[in-house]
Structures are given as C-alpha cells and as structure tokens.
C-alpha cells in the first residue's frame, strides 16, 4: 500500500499565530485517518491546505501523488471534500446542486444523470431530489454533501467535522455511510473531529493535534495504551473471605497498578489492560474466598490521552460555545 498524503513541515501562519506548526504526517492509501483535537487546533486549516484552497506559509505536501504547491489542479481532480460549514446552495434542489457540481468536474449528459441518481439513492435522498435544499434537515444536507463529494469518484475524501451540529441518531447514520464508503469504494478518508467517540469508531489511525502540532499518533488502541490505565471496579460481599489478602494480591498484578478500597465494599483497580486482567482477579478472589457480586471496568478514553498530554480536556468550554454557534448558524440556514 502506498501513501495517499505525505506532509513535509506543513505550516500556516496568520501573522504571528502559528495555526499549523510544521506538521509531518503520512496517510496510507485506503485508511480512514483522523485528525482529533479541540476547536482551533489547526485541523480545518490543515485540510484546506491539503485541498489546495489555502496556501501554506512554509513546507508542502504530496496529495494523490502531486505537490500542493506545484500541481493544485491535478490534486483537485482526485479529491472530494465535505466542508465543515454547509456549502450547499439552499435555493436549488438536491439534484440541481449535484448537477452543477458534476459540470464543475467536467461530467455531463446521461452519465452524469445516472451517477447523480445512483448516489442520491445511496444516501437515501432519491425521493427528495426535486425539493429545494432549504426544506432539508441538517442530516439530509450532510448526506447530500457526502453524495456530492463522491460524484467524480475521488481517490481521497476529506471530511471536516462530518457530524458537527447533528443529533446523536443522525450522527450514527452518517457514521454508517462513512464506514460503507470505505468498505465499498476503497477510498482514503481523512477526517477531522473533536468528538472522541467519532474518532474511535471510524478511524484506523488517529493523530491528536493541539495548537497546530501533532502531539500523538497511532491506532485508537495504541493511543489508549499509551496512557494505559483501565479501571476495574469490583464489589465484594463484605462478611466472607480475607479482604486484606485479596487487596495485597491484587496490588501485585502489575507494577504500576493501584488498588483502592472505597466504602462500602467497592474496590477499584487501575491496570494496563482490563480484559486481560479480569480472569486473574477472579482467580485471586477464589484463592482468598472472596465472593464477587459485581464487576465492571472502564477503558482509558482518547480524552484521557489528550488530558495526559496537554492537561486539558478536548471538549472544553470554548469548544461547546463554538458548537453552539455552529448549531445556531445551521438553524439560521434552515430558516432563511
């Protein structure tokens, strides 16, 4: 497998502000790669540079085999993009929006018509094709934008915050499409998101980005193992067995585990990999005559990774404010 995108010290400065700070990334053909980070981390700026609509201040990137500085036009033929903000003409129908885009990519006639109908069917909007977009819901507009980005069979698909401002049910729906596109069309997908669950569910590999810098890179599991602490909660029956012996043995499971006994009979154990450790917990309980009433565990999340690396959470207050504004903007579009 080759590389779909290679960036080389890709940098964007706005005055003194380093929006994107010497990023070096390699995205393999056929993978879903996620840029995860809070709002203002430089995700959209990076995507805009890779999509050749923003000139880098420094450095460059190879996208689909071409240099973004030297051959933007060749790249434009090979990429599809769904922008973060709505970019559909609301006064036109779904079909008309698709048709105009098809012509912009040099498609025409019967072939264009067939592709449009096929894709509208793919995103379940065929019945809505002759309805003006202003009557669509947010989720429908997103699906139309996704269909539109696939019209010219791009090699690489950019999705900038594909589910921002959508309700949970619609988000899950959009996720299904993204997974289907990867599976059925074998496209390389670069998506940005500030939702942990989204990155975890969709991405083969994730780069965590903050203040324009990549601060961690790996598969979701690799990243979580990096901070490494899953927590197992065990509730035991108080009367029987040797509780102190049980706790001593639990402490020796692995070197950096910590065990706490909380009232009334809840024990929490921090470990590297909870599923691997749980059988041992049962064994020890057996040896010490402890009866386990309830056991559950929580895995380290990508948010914990971000917290460990930056001391902040991804979804801080300013993040939710931007979300709020975006949602309001979308609502305004719908009404206009």
């Amino acid at each position: 497998m080759g590389s779909a995108i290679i960036t080389n010290n890709l940098t964007k400065k706005y005055g003194e502000l380093l929006a994107v700070d010497h990023i070096n990334l390699e995205i393999k053909s056929g993978e879903i790669f996620g840029l995860l980070g809070p709002n203002g981390a430089g995700k959209t700026t990076t995507i805009h540079m890779l999509a050749t609509i923003l000139k880098p201040t420094e450095g460059t990137a190879i996208v689909a085999g071409y240099d973004i500085r030297k051959n933007p036009k060749e790249i434009r033929k090979k990429i599809g993009i769904v922008f973060q903000d709505m970019t559909i003409d609301r006064n036109l129908t779904g079909y008309e929006n698709m048709w105009i885009n098809g012509r912009l990519y040099g498609l025409s006639g019967k072939a264009l018509e067939e592709s449009i109908l096929e894709l509208l069917d793919y995103v379940e909007l065929k019945d809505w094709k002759d309805v003006e977009v202003k009557k669509y819901s947010g989720g429908m507009i997103r699906r139309l934008e996704i269909a539109r980005s696939l019209l010219h069979h791009p090699e690489i698909l950019f999705l900038d915050e594909p589910t921002i401002g959508l309700d949970p049910q619609t988000r899950a729906h959009v996720w299904d499409y993204i997974i289907r596109i990867k599976k059925e069309k074998g496209m390389t997908i670069l998506l940005t998101t500030h939702y942990m669950d989204e990155a975890e569910k969709l991405c083969d590999r994730i780069a965590i980005i903050d203040h324009g810098k990549i601060i961690a890179l790996g598969t979701p599991d690799e990243l979580k193992t990096m901070v490494g602490q899953d927590i197992i909660y065990v509730r035991i029956q108080s009367q029987n067995g040797r509780v102190s012996g049980f706790i001593e043995k639990l402490k020796s499971i692995n070197s950096n585990s910590s065990v706490n006994l909380n009232p009334p009979n809840l024990i929490s154990i921090s470990v590297k990999n909870a599923p691997n450790v749980i059988p041992t917990v049962f064994e020890i309980a057996d040896e010490e005559g402890i009866k386990i009433i309830e056991l559950k565990y929580s895995r380290a999340s990508l948010d914990d990774v971000f917290l460990k690396l930056t001391g902040r959470r991804i979804r801080d207050e300013s993040g939710s404010w931007t979300d709020f504004v975006r949602t309001r903007m979308r609502a305004r579009f719908r009404r206009r």
Partner: protein, 258 residues
C-alpha cells in the same frame, strides 16, 4: 474546449435558476424602476414643461429622456447586486465548492457574470416594454443593438460587484458599500440630467463611469439623440467594461479562502 464550457454552463445555470426560484425578488426588482418612471418621471416631466425647459434634455420631453436610463438602471442594479452576491457565497461557503474543483476559475466567473447579465437584461426588457406604453416614440427596431450595449454594460457591473466582493473580508457594511457605490454611479451617469451641463468635477467622474456611455448609446438607439457620438460611446463602454472584467477574472483566479 469542453473543460471551459462545463464550468461556464454550470455557473450560468446556477445564477439563472436561483433567480427564477426567488419569485418575490423577481417581482420586487420591477417595482422600483416603475416607481421612478411614474412618480419621478411624470412629475418632473410636467414641471419642466411648465417651466418651458425641455430644450435642456436634448430636445426631449423629460419622461422620454429618463426612460432609457431607467431601463439601464434596472440592468445596472440587477447585475451589480448579483456580482456582489459573491460575498454571500464567500460567507456561506459555496465559493469553496467552486475553488476546490478543478474547473477553470476564469470560465466559472465569466459564466457567473453572464448568468447575472442574462437575468438583469430580462428585467430590463420588462421595464423597456412598460416604458414603451408611456413613451411610444421609442424606436424598438434598434432592440438588438440596444441589447448588446446592455450586455456589455451588465458584464462590467457584475465584474465590479465581484471585484468588491472578493476584496471584502466580512459582510459587515455590505449595505453601506452598496449605497456608497450605486448612488454616485447612478446619479453621475446622465440618467437624470445631461452630463455636459454638470459642473466640471461631476463631468470628470461621469466620464469614467461605463454607465454614462451605455445610457448615452441607448438614448441614441432608442430616441435618436445623444450627447456624444455613438462610436465614442461604444468604444469607451467596451474599453471600461474590459478593464472591469479582466480585473474581476484576475481577482477570482487568485482567490483563496483566507
């Protein structure tokens, strides 16, 4: 060639289709020029006749004098507003869709401008036929050359709108800019009074305004009188329009989103 024709058609189609959808806007654009003709034209026509000053207006009754100008005013406003509406595409993201596509930007922007011109000229024609009802002396045999003059004029102001829109960073002050630009262009164009009678400084501005030559040429075509020679009008109109169009294409070609 196909690669240039495609974006041209796409953008032309979009402008025409959008306008056709917005029915209240279609009707709204006819109201203002009709008001100008009826309330302003008829009133001043009577006033000037009472004062015996019709000779001032190239020997025409004031209403006849005003008519070609009001038709061009309609086309001017339509094309300038459509051109400057690029700012909305910029604000609401549609511009990115065009910029990220491999389509020729030159072809896209010319297609868009001609789409704007098409709509503006249809609006102008409606006003022209309305004007014909109240000023039947108009020579409609020259309709085709009049349309050509209108298209050139329309392209220049669609271009001016696009230049301003690509330069503007935000939509704040949008309405202010429209007023600051359209009012002087309209009043310093010979639509309402002969430019040659105005003070020198007004004449200087009017002579740099493509609208002046379009108005004068139209008056020649429709009523047979003009301040300048027709050839002079056409030469200046084409020259100024070309400059605007080239500037607009250049601006749009190097446009990025930030």
């Amino acid at each position: 060639m196909g690669s240039l024709l495609d974006p041209f058609i796409a953008m032309w189609y979009r402008q025409v289709k959008r306008f056709w959808r917005a029915k209240p806007r279609v009707i709204g654009t006819f109201i203002q020029p009709i008001f100008w003709l009826l309330f302003f034209g008829l009133g001043f026509s009577a006033a000037f006749r009472a004062g015996g000053r019709t000779g001032v207006f190239l020997g025409l009754d004031y209403l006849s004098y005003l008519m070609p100008g009001v038709v061009l005013m309609t086309i001017f406003m339509g094309s300038f507003m459509s051109g400057i509406s690029v700012i909305w595409d910029k604000e609401f993201g549609y511009l990115k869709v065009v910029l990220v596509s491999p389509a020729s930007r030159k072809a896209s922007i010319i297609g868009r401008s001609l789409g704007d011109a098409t709509i503006a000229i249809i609006q102008g024609l409606v006003i022209l036929f309305f004007g014909y009802l109240i000023v039947p002396t108009i020579n409609l045999l020259n309709l085709i050359p009049f349309l050509i003059v209108s298209i050139i004029m329309s392209l220049s102001f669609a271009s001016l709108g696009i230049i301003i829109a690509t330069k503007m960073q935000t939509i704040e002050g949008f309405q202010l800019i429209i007023n600051i630009i359209t009012m002087p262009l309209l009043f310093l164009s010979g639509i309402f009074y002969p430019v040659s009678l105005a003070p020198l400084w007004i004449r200087v501005i009017a002579l740099a305004n493509p609208l002046t030559y379009a108005v004068d040429a139209s008056r020649f075509l429709l009523l047979g009188v003009s301040e300048f020679s027709f050839i002079f009008d056409i030469t200046l109109l084409i020259s100024l329009s070309s400059i605007f169009l080239i500037l607009a294409i250049y601006q749009f070609d190097k446009a990025t989103i930030g």
